[in-house]
Amino acid sequence: MTSICIYFEVHQPTRLNRFSVFNVGKNSDPLSTYFNNELNFWIFEKVAKKCYIPTNKILLNLINESDGNFRISFSLTGTFVEYCEKYMPSLLDSFKDLFATGAVDLIEETYFHSLSSLYDDLDEFEEQVTMHNEMIKRIFNYKPRVFRNTEAIFDNRIAKKISEMGYKGILTEGTEKILDWRSPNYIYKPVNADIKVLLRNYTLSDDVGFRFSARGWPGYPLTADKYANWLASCQGDLINLFIDYETFGEHHWIETGIFDFLDNLPNEVMKHRHLDFVTVSEAVERYEPVGEINVPWAISWADADRDVSTWLGNNMQIACFNEIKEIGKAIKQKNDKEFLYIWRLLQTSDHLYYLSTKGMQDGAVHAYFSPYSGPYEGFINYMNILQDLKQRI
């Protein structure tokens, strides 16, 4: 038996307003001047219509039609859930409906989709994980057993912390950097902690996430039966397909046939007798580690480098990262709830992602997601806001 473990990341950052050096120290209310509510609502609504609403509907149908044999997992970031509660409660209801089928699992992460796991102390990280935990408890009355860090950032230190916090499993990237010749299609265990690691099969995940509508790709056009055959020919216990939820309808538009692909996938997979679907919790329960991984330097699933250079690859990114850490010390002393919340919204990793100066293929992906005309404009804006926040406290 080989199990297919499909997991979707659902996230929206809180994008920033235009903020020039002339605004620093001049404005009254940071919540309304730092964040571009209009743009954020516009993007959220656009993506909801193109992706979240139709995809949730398809998934619910597929689960019901398959009598719960089609099983999936989600991680919903805190910032995403806040958008739902503020602008579109019905969307949150549709996630609740999915969860109510019993075929859907929820994954823990930091509430703010932040890089707090890379700070010198892990106390802020732990607080943000706890916030997420409380949010899932409040909305779904559920306690996740598996953790996935921001963009699958992972190292020994994070694994140990998450294990100590009581989680049974953790997700990250199945990169050769840590596997060498070994297959990602098994469960592993960190050298220093007692927790099961699920490794993303990046080739098969990116076939859907990145390459689905690429006409130059030999796999084009990708149909559900072709893809199911690829899955069926894989060796191993477990194939982890971790995919950005916006793949459906947003990165690949409806015209590419991505929804038809999704609609047909469960049936095509289940034609193969030795394949079934599991949630992340079930994967962790069912399979045992076959080996150890040692990850002293942080990896992630981002860009071709599969490390944290996506967020900390140049001087501008490192300067902002250090600045936000520094501001944190003062904020925690001040003990002001609103400032703490603003500081945390500013920690969302996307703010640093926009400042990446990587060239070539990755650069095109960065530009696609960025609300700025380039990384330098992004830096000026973000740094000006950090300077303003610093002056206030």
Binding site: S20, V21, F22, N314, N315, M316, I318, A319, T357, G363, S373, G374, P375, Y376, E377, F379, I380, M383, N384
Partner: protein
Amino acid sequence: MKIAMIGWEYPPFKAGGLATHCYGITHSLAENGVKIDFYMPKTKQKSYSNTPNLKIIEVGETDIFPYDRPDTKELAGLFYDAVYRYNDIVVAKVQNNIKKHGKYDLIHCHDWLTMRAGVTLKEKTGLPLIITIHSTEYDRAGWLYPNQWFIDMERYGMEKADKIIAVSHFTKRVIIEKYGIKPDKIEVVHNAVYPIHEGQKQEIVLFLGRLTIQKGAEFFLKAAQKVKEHEPNAQFVVAGTGDMLPRLIDQAIYLGISDRVIFTGRLTEEEVKHIYSISSVYVMPSVSEPFGITALEAISAGTPTIVSKTAGVAETFKNCLKVDFWDTDEMANKIISILKYDPLRSTIAQEGKQEIDLFTWNRVAIQTIDVYNKVVK
């Protein structure tokens, strides 16, 4: 392949980017095996070439070189006379050389200054004609009151040419929309740069260019006033000369920044390199800029650069900052940010220098030869 290229300026004589371009393209074409006779007006400082395949042929004589627009009627009259005279002499000289040394494969001209000669030669010899458009009358007039005489001259040349090389997609669009030329006749070849050494940086914010309406120095001064309030130690340098110089000096006094602004007048090539190398920010706020080689020069010297959004260079070069030329608040925001945030300065300088490596004259030559091959029979 052997070509006759007809130019107007060439180092050491230099009024603008055209000389830089002609120097770069002739040398790199020669290195790629193209034999070039480069025709230009005789100047006081003699131009010469030590490069095999490249011969510089000086013809005629003129003292009048307003690259841009003659500012008085009298000068204009003399200037047009000089241009006509030069074009006529070039035609005779090229025909003479064909008789003596054999045929060329094509004629390549630059801008309106040399179009008449190009078209006449095409008609007399039947050789294909290539014209590179570095700027149009609309650019030079800053899109205000363009002179019909120049426009007609430019259209005449463009219509007769077999292929037009535009220095940017921006310019290609102007040629299509304003001159009615068919898009498939126009090829875009972006400019390049010979890198300049980086020097000891000082807190200098630099403008460098002809002081004409096209280059937008007045917006630079407006931004400077806003920067001064924030960064009182910043020094602003306006390098170059042109018909707007007196107005700009008045403007600096009026804005209360004359203590922070230095007007250098025309600089020598060595001085230009030096000022690029020690500046912390270069601003090119052109109202209309077909390409903007100066931006590449500044970037190559490790100077973070802010350019007009519509400049040709902005459509192809990533590691620079882009603003609307009229948005002096944003221009000031960016200047201050570069002065204030070291990580921004170092990242943009480093990434910019890497990207500059792609902008070689050799690449320009290879793309130009591709265009040649399309017209050579």
